[in-house]
């Protein structure tokens, strides 16, 4: 699989401005599941959910959501956009996502993000002014929890660990692939580059120049840290569209949602915003051409996620958008593949990571056995 296509949701509960109807939390949660299943049905590769701990969102507890979707799908990769590495205990992240790996046969990866809602931090005993530091220390610990057993650790932001082994161990001895998402914090691009992880730019609501600057920095630093050439770095982008067969229909139908949307509503005109940011509202052909143009400023990349279900768009409309995206998908895949430079890596999957690691390993730590004298401190490796 050269490039992955998918959708990401932030789980906002927003009033439909054309009907005045606000979905209940139940309806929105179930709609999210329906959208994820539809994503698999139309042939998308990835479904990612955000994480929010405040109204008007239903995106708390992403692991339950992903596991539930995982049980009802067979092929699609489950991911996050983003996992709050600042306010979520890295010990819980290590456990939860390793568990989902096992449950879904490796169909999971994560995107780390900081979250920008000030009051959420103190609710979890943290301080937003330490956002970057939290992201850096917590992730450094998370990596150790996935790669080591009997971890002794001491840091600034959580209670120390002595002899802690996160369970279950990552499936096949390979941790979920990690992306780091940031709109405008170069420190996070630096972090992704240092570890040789993926870097994702949300690429919606903001001008493409932000994306270009951040991806360029990430690629340069990825090479600086010896992970390969800048072109071999693993890049993901967001994107946002609304399409109808007739472009004028798309503009007319989407305008009230745009004008009243969270984040950018009541601000710039739809026309100004589609020009200033990667938002595309128009015909499938326009969406295709705009999307294919993204690589002109970020280079060949591995993952393209679209936001399709926000701003109060009803489920029926979202599913129609996905049908149109499904029809467009072969052209998108072909369009990117036909111009892709040789040597650009494929999007990482569990299978590719296991292969790169030299095959699956069982890194579980088994309990002490009085009869054989083996200790629970001896990790058994079974290839």
């Amino acid at each position: 699989m050269g490039m992955q296509f998918g959708i990401f949701t932030v789980g906002d509960v927003t009033t439909d401005p054309t009907t005045g109807k606000t979905p209940t939390e139940y309806e929105r949660i179930k709609a999210t599941v329906a959208i994820a299943k539809k994503a698999e049905e139309i042939g998308l590769d990835v479904f990612a959910t955000g994480e929010h701990h405040n109204p008007p969102f239903i995106a708390s507890n992403p692991t339950a959501t992903l596991a539930y979707i995982g049980a009802q799908t067979e092929r699609i990769i489950l991911s996050t956009a983003t996992t709050l590495i600042t306010t979520t205990d890295p010990v819980l992240i290590a456990e939860d996502y390793a568990k989902i790996q096992h449950l879904t046969d490796g169909r999971v990866d994560l995107m780390m993000g900081r979250g920008n809602t000030g009051p959420v931090y103190p609710w979890f005993g943290k301080d937003i002014r330490q956002g970057i530091n939290l992201a850096i220390e917590n992730y450094a610990l998370l990596r150790r929890l996935w790669s080591e057993t009997n971890v002794d650790w001491q840091g600034r932001f959580r209670t120390p660990l002595q002899g802690y082994t996160s369970t279950p161990r990552p499936l096949d001895g390979v941790a979920p692939f990690v992306w780091h998402g940031s709109i405008r914090s170069p420190e996070i691009a630096e972090q992704a580059a240092y570890y040789g992880d993926g870097f994702f730019h949300n690429h919606i609501f903001w001008p493409a120049s932000h994306t270009e600057q951040m991806v360029r920095l990430y690629r340069e630093r990825f090479a600086h840290y010896g992970h390969g050439t800048p072109e071999q770095a693993i890049v993901g982008l967001g994107g946002q569209f609304f399409m109808r067969t007739n472009s004028q229909d798309a503009i007319e139908e989407f305008r009230p949602y745009f004008d009243n949307a969270p984040v950018y509503g009541h601000g710039p005109s739809l026309e100004d915003f589609t020009e200033a940011t990667p938002l595309t509202v128009g015909s499938p052909q326009q969406v295709l051409e705009r999307t294919l143009s993204f690589r002109e400023y970020v280079g060949d990349y591995q993952r393209q996620l679209f936001l399709v279900d926000h701003a109060g768009l009803p489920l029926k409309t979202v599913l129609e958008q996905l049908d149109l995206l499904g029809e467009l998908l072969p052209s998108l895949r072909e369009g990117f593949a036909s111009v892709r430079k040789p040597g650009v890596p494929d999007a990482p999957t569990h299978a590719s990571l296991v292969q790169a690691a030299g095959g699956p390993k069982d890194t579980a730590v088994y309990g002490a056995d009085d009869a054989t004298g083996t200790s629970d401190r001896d990790p058994l490796e079974v290839s």
Partner: protein
């Protein structure tokens, strides 16, 4: 080459705020030149940026000409900022422009503050509103601020009152700004800022081992 950027928040045309801004620009140009430096003056009118500023408040990013204006301010060696007095303070438009600058943009930057109003009763707006604002933004505000009431524009330059006094204040403030922007420091600023902007990080990222050290040790 010293780059001076004049920010004028006048709304009407013609505007007495722009008139004062132009007087200050000419005086600063003369004063910097007199110190042996070349100078380039750019003037930013905020009125045409009003929509873009409101959009920026909502979207978090500058569009088109506003982005260019912010780029000019970031690269300036010194600023001349002029606002009309609205309800005993700077205008909302004026404040919005400085609200949307990324933190650190004005660190150590010499700034000449100026204001206009219909009556001299507003003259202390410079000390009560503008000076604290720019002190908060870590700018270096020159000691002389320039306030002009309508009546200051109505008296001959030679007289001891009205625009005669205004003219003296303009010259004194311009000389103070010129002295700061022609200082020999490599940064071109009276002190070297320590706060790093996003642009600084993009140009020269802090290495990850240093980020990790800061994260874990504070």
């Amino acid at each position: 080459m010293r780059r001076i950027v004049v920010v004028s928040a006048g709304l009407s045309v013609p505007s007495s705020t722009r008139l004062l801004a132009d007087m200050l620009a000419a005086a600063v140009e003369g004063a910097v030149t007199a110190r042996g430096s070349e100078v380039e003056i750019s003037t930013i009118e905020l009125r045409p940026l009003a929509h873009a500023l409101a959009d920026h408040l909502l979207t978090g990013f500058p569009s088109g000409e506003l982005a260019e204006a912010i780029r000019l301010v970031r690269g300036a060696d010194g600023l001349v900022v002029v606002t009309p007095v609205f309800s005993a303070s700077y205008s909302g438009l004026f404040k919005t422009f400085f609200d949307v600058l990324e933190p650190g943009t004005l660190d150590g930057k010499p700034v000449l503050i100026a204001a206009t109003a219909g009556t001299a009763r507003h003259s202390l707006v410079l000390e009560h509103a503008l000076r604290p604002l720019f002190a908060y933004l870590h700018a270096v505000v020159v000691p002389t601020g320039v306030f002009a009431a309508s009546e200051d524009f109505g008296v001959s330059a030679a007289s001891d009152t009205g625009s005669g006094e205004l003219h003296k204040r303009v010259e004194r403030a311009a000389a103070e700004l010129a002295a700061l922007v022609t200082s020999d420091l490599p940064s071109g600023r009276p002190f070297t800022p320590t706060r790093r902007s996003v642009e600084d990080e993009l140009d020269e990222p802090t290495p990850f081992v240093e980020l990790l050290r800061r994260a874990t040790q504070g």
